[in-house]
Every structure is written in C-alpha cells, then in structure tokens.
C-alpha cells in the first residue's frame, strides 16, 4: 500500500506499524517526532499504531531557526 512520508510516496506492506516504518527508514536511535494525518504519535505507541493506505506521515527534527 502507498503512504506519504514527508511529502513523498512510499510503498509499504499492509499492516506496517510505525515502529516497522522507523526501521525501514533507518531512523532507529535517531531523535525525531512523528505525526500521522496531523495527529501526534507518541513514541510509546509506535508498536501499536498501524499505518493505512493514504496516510500522510510527517517525521520532523530540530534545525536552526530564530
């Protein structure tokens, strides 16, 4: 199924969890925060939150800004 990650289409297996996605994107151990369809997903829910076709996922971090 297709999902949108940071504006780009990615194809993942059905029933992929957020934790799975993090591993697929090689983000394990990195500092980031995630929302799905504009709703924050807490780190504690990564294993139990599953993705659905068409989900819009934003993965963000800190950068320089004023």
């Amino acid at each position: 199924m297709d999902i949108i990650v940071n504006g780009k289409t990615n194809t993942v297996q059905p029933n992929t969890s957020v934790a799975d996605l993090i591993t697929i994107l090689a983000l394990d151990g990195k500092r980031f925060a995630i929302e799905i369809n504009k709703e924050l997903v807490l780190r504690s829910s990564f294993d139990t939150t599953h993705l659905h076709a068409g989900d819009k996922i934003e993965i963000v971090g800190a950068i320089g800004g004023g």
């Binding site: 990650v5 940071n6 504006g7 994107l25 090689a26 983000l27 990195k30 500092r31 980031f32 925060a33 995630i34 929302e35 504009k38 924050l40 807490l42 780190r43 934003e58 993965i59 963000v60 971090g61 800190a62 950068i63 320089g64 800004g65 004023g66």
Partner: protein
C-alpha cells in the same frame, strides 16, 4: 552587583540575551556565535527530517546540546493556530516532554507581522495543554496584557519586523507594555545592531531575542560578543537609573572655590 537573574517559567538565567540558531553559514559558526553571545536560551525550528540523507552530518542538537542550553522550539512559518499547536506538540515529543515553546502565528509573508487573533487562540490552547508559552506578538500593549492574562510565561513584542534590523520603532509602546507587565517582557525581532539592543534594555525590557542581527553580520561571532555586551550595558544602565534629559547645561565642576 547582586545577582540579577532573568526568571522564566520558574527557571533562573544569568543571560538576558536569547539567540536564534537560523541563517548561519554552517554548524561551526552557529556554535561559535552562540557561545560568544552567552545565550542560555536558544530557539530552534521544527522541520521535516532529512530521511536517508547526510547520515553523518552533525545534528543541531549535537553541537548545541539540551544539557547545556535551554531549547526554545518555535512555531516559525505557521500561519494558523492549528499548525502552531501541531508544531508545539511535535516539539514536546521530540524533546522528551520539554514544555517551553516560542509561539508565533504569522499573518503576512511580507512583514511577518503576527496574526494576534490566532496567536491569542493558540496561546489559550497551549497554556491549557500545559505548555510554558513565550509568545511573539506586536507592540500592542492591550494584546500583550491579554497574552499575559491567558497565562503566557513571557510576552515578546517585536521592535520591528523580523530580520529587518530597523531597531526599536515604537519605544513608548514597548515601555507601556513593560510598565504594565507581571511577566518578563522580551523584545523579539527587529534589532539591527548593539545600540538597538542597549536601547531596548534601557527601556526596561527583561531580555532580547535575536537571530538575524548576529547571524547575518559580516562577522557573526564578533557581533554576538557585541550584543552580549550591549544587553549587559543596557541592563546596567536601566538598573542604575539614567539622568533626566534637560535643555540646558549643568556644570560638572563646582562653582565654589573658583578663582577666576
């Protein structure tokens, strides 16, 4: 001189200069200028992670670690209260429950003036959601007071548009905001050079937040030092109490004992 701390959300700071981390040439310059400024609170922006790219590139939080600096995630670039609230919640999760945020809800791309109606609404939501909100606003004393009453931990009126370097355009409004405030008032945006920072502090501002004036100076590290000194000088002059302005001269040497 006795200790003169800035207290924001119950935490004491010795520096009254807060700096942004945007617009620098590279991470090294960001780190050096931040260090030179003496800032203890630094703003950061929340943006999309660069997935799969530059895996070894240093991360901002590696060079400016949260153990050393109080991070102030901002909502820069947000034009709606929904986006501003989303950004704050992401920041809190990103920084392990960190509550302090800089709220800005913009209203116009050319001026980057705040949309104060949306700002008030967003502030209310964030305060109820247990955030410590430092809020960017215009130099309107009425709105500044309302933001304080909502529960913002600091109110930060602009001196001039963000990045403009125009200096303190409306000192009497800033003064009015300061005199009516029960929370720290920090000038946020518009400072161009050291004298602007000193003027803001002489008015009685509790602190100044700046980014462009340092980052875009010809020598950012030297300007960071200048700003540190200007904020300190302005603060000391404020505490010392300046002489009143008078139209005519007042001799500095005594008349008594004059032999001419």
């Amino acid at each position: 001189m006795k200790k003169d701390s800035l207290i924001i959300a119950g935490k004491e700071y010795q520096s009254r200069l807060l700096t942004g981390t945007g617009k620098y040439t590279d991470m090294e310059q960001t780190q050096q200028a931040t260090e030179a400024s003496g800032a203890e609170i630094i703003t950061i922006a929340i943006r999309r992670s660069n997935i799969g790219q530059h895996a070894d590139e240093p991360n901002l939080l590696d060079i400016l670690p949260p153990e050393k600096y109080t991070l102030l995630p901002n909502t820069a670039g947000c034009y709606t209260l929904e986006d501003a609230v989303r950004t704050c919640r992401l920041a809190r999760e990103l920084l392990d429950g960190h509550k302090l945020v800089k709220l800005e809800v913009l209203g116009n791309e050319k001026t980057l003036f705040p949309d104060v109606i949306e700002t008030l609404k967003a502030a209310e939501i964030l305060v109820k959601d247990n955030f410590d909100v430092m809020v960017y606003t215009n130099d309107d004393p009425i709105i500044a007071k309302q933001l304080e009453e909502i529960g913002c931990v600091a109110v930060m009126p602009l001196a001039a548009p963000i990045g403009s370097g125009l200096g303190i355009r409306n000192p009497y409004n800033i003064l009015e905001i300061i005199e009516n405030a029960n929370v720290p008032i920090l000038v946020d945006a518009g400072v161009g050079t050291a004298s602007d920072a000193a003027i803001a502090m002489e008015l009685g501002c509790d602190g100044i937040l700046m980014n462009t004036a340092i980052a875009n100076a010809q020598n950012p590290v030297l300007m960071a030092t200048a700003m540190k000194n200007a904020v300190l000088a302005g603060r000391q002059a404020f505490l010392a109490g300046r002489i009143p302005r008078k139209r005519y001269a007042s001799a500095s040497s005594p008349i008594d004992g004059s032999f001419v």
